[in-house]
Amino acid sequence: MKDHPSNLERTSMKRLIAFYTILYKEIHRFVRIWPQTLLPSAVTTSLYFLIFGKLIGGRIGEMNGFQYMDYIVPGIILMSVITNAYGNVVASFYSSKFQRNIEEMLIAPVPGWMMLAGYVGGGVARGLAVGGVVMGIAAIFTSLRIEHPAVVILVFLLTAILFSLAGFLNALFANSFDDISIIPNFVLTPLVYLGGVFYSVDLLPEPWKIISLGNPILYMISAFRYGFLGVTDVSIERALLIIVGFIMVLLGWSLWLLKRGTGLKN
């Protein structure tokens, strides 16, 4: 039997409220513990700007025609977005699993995709908050300019969504707190640092340049840098396609796992 339109409307409204509740809870969580969630990125990036930008950067000179400080700003902002979006979802979702309060949602009429949307929304919100803080700090050290604002916003949102999804998957499979630190420490951090945050990939000799092109984070940082400075190591279209492609894969995988109840149900 098909649902009456008003029933469908009511169901949609209730689901929207459920989504808002998860999002509110997630944002409230990282704001409540801001010394753990917002402050560390502010301190770390200030140090990056001070050491790599001011002290060492002054001696490096120009990179692709820009002051070194200006060149590294987009990468440092996006690095904060990546680590915070990932970290927010993996920590929050795994601790919900660990404390079993995820059952609050599982027993309620909250579809899996809605739960995923709520957690990803929380990750994007934290990425946005931390990205904003880091941009504010960058403005102290250098005169920020944005050549293509639409690209900046698009890459920022897509990257935050992608790494929130990745954090969700990590938490879904995790069975201990060790499991949620392995990927960030041993996979994500090396990929971010080798993704051209502090240098142009053109500086690398072969075969490292070719190998670096296999790092998806390189495309995100290059596209983000293009939004700020108007220069890039790779094609913007290809970069956006790669990000969207990864999002589709991780989204499909997450939804499939949620439908099966992997990591959540017996």
Partner: protein, 310 residues
């Protein structure tokens, strides 16, 4: 109308353990129902399946006529669950925990907060609404779990050992509240290890053992099946040797304390007559265990004896 109907429900876990072997169970609307069984009998699996936390292997579950497979949302809206273990975010405030739960059921934030405050008030937690869960005592946490389960005004409340580790005063006040809730129309299913609790609160009972429902009856009928009652007798003077009482089974606990099994057909009145004739004066008398406990133990023991030897 049936609040819950379970037909041929089976659950086999990935490791091959068969937790439920095709159980059938009906709970009428408005009932106060006890689901009892020893540890590992299948109670929590049954509750997990009804509340969508465990995926069933086969069988059919309907809640107020809504099928769990075809209309899970309607089933979920009908049920409030108080789990066995404390499972809320320890760093969230009591009011937020209940309001968030209401939000998951589609209640707008303002209404959800109002509803949370009402639920906390009726459970005596009104003044704790702004305290984080970890600041609450064990009894308060238990009551908070009930408040959370009531956030969306469910028609069926399932309580999985709700008074475990709670002191007697709070337990009694929780019983009063659950009775009130049941009188107001909420169907309640209770699992507990305190059989006195089930005997006091519930009108109907099912006992599950090794994944099978071994008894499903009205509480009165069930207790009527008991043909022996056990008592503890405190004596005025120490006994030198056990008296001989035909038909009664006696055992000495210490010099002044006896346990006695009294067959229903002989009755306790006859016991006092015989003891008086032998010059034994009883100063006090109490049940060795409650009646349901005796019945429960009989069933569980018989289940064990039927197990094939390994």
């Amino acid at each position: 109308m049936k609040a819950l109907s379970i037909n041929d429900l089976r659950k086999v876990y990935k490791n091959g353990f068969e937790a439920l072997k095709g159980i059938h169970l009906d709970v009428e609307e408005g009932d106060f129902f006890a689901l009892l069984g020893p540890n590992g009998a299948g109670k929590s699996t049954t509750i997990g399946i009804i509340s969508s936390l465990v995926t069933k292997t086969s069988g059919k579950v309907t809640v107020f006529g809504h099928d769990l497979d075809s209309n899970p949302d309607a089933v979920k809206r009908s049920i409030g669950l108080v789990p066995q273990e404390v499972n809320f975010n320890q760093f969230e405030k009591a009011c937020q925990i209940v309001a968030n739960q209401a939000g998951y059921y589609g209640i707008p934030r303002k209404q959800a907060i109002k509803r949370a405050e009402e639920c906390l008030d009726v459970l005596g937690l009104g003044d704790k609404r702004n305290e984080t869960a970890r600041q609450l005592s064990g009894g308060m946490k238990r009551r908070l779990m009930i408040a959370r389960a009531l956030a969306h005004s469910p028609r069926l409340l399932i309580l999985d050992e709700p008074t475990a580790g709670v002191d007697i005063e709070i337990r009694r006040s929780m019983w009063d509240y659950l009775r009130k809730l049941n009188r107001e129309g909420t169907t309640i299913i209770l699992t507990t290890h305190y059989l006195e609790e089930a005997e006091n609160l519930c009108r109907n009972i099912a006992i599950i053992n090794q994944g099978i429902i071994v008894e499903n009856n009205a509480m009165g009928n069930l207790l009527g099946k008991l043909n022996v009652a056990s008592f503890i007798l405190e004596l005025r003077k120490p006994l030198e040797k056990l008296p001989k009482l035909t038909g009664y089974r006696l055992a000495r606990i210490d010099d002044r304390t006896l346990s006695v099994d009294v067959p229903v057909e002989l009755g306790i009145h006859g016991l006092f007559d015989v003891l008086t004739l032998q010059g034994i004066e009883v100063t006090s008398l109490r049940n060795a265990s409650n009646r349901l406990e005796q019945f429960f133990m009989n069933l569980v023991e018989s289940g064990r004896n039927e197990r094939p030897s390994v």
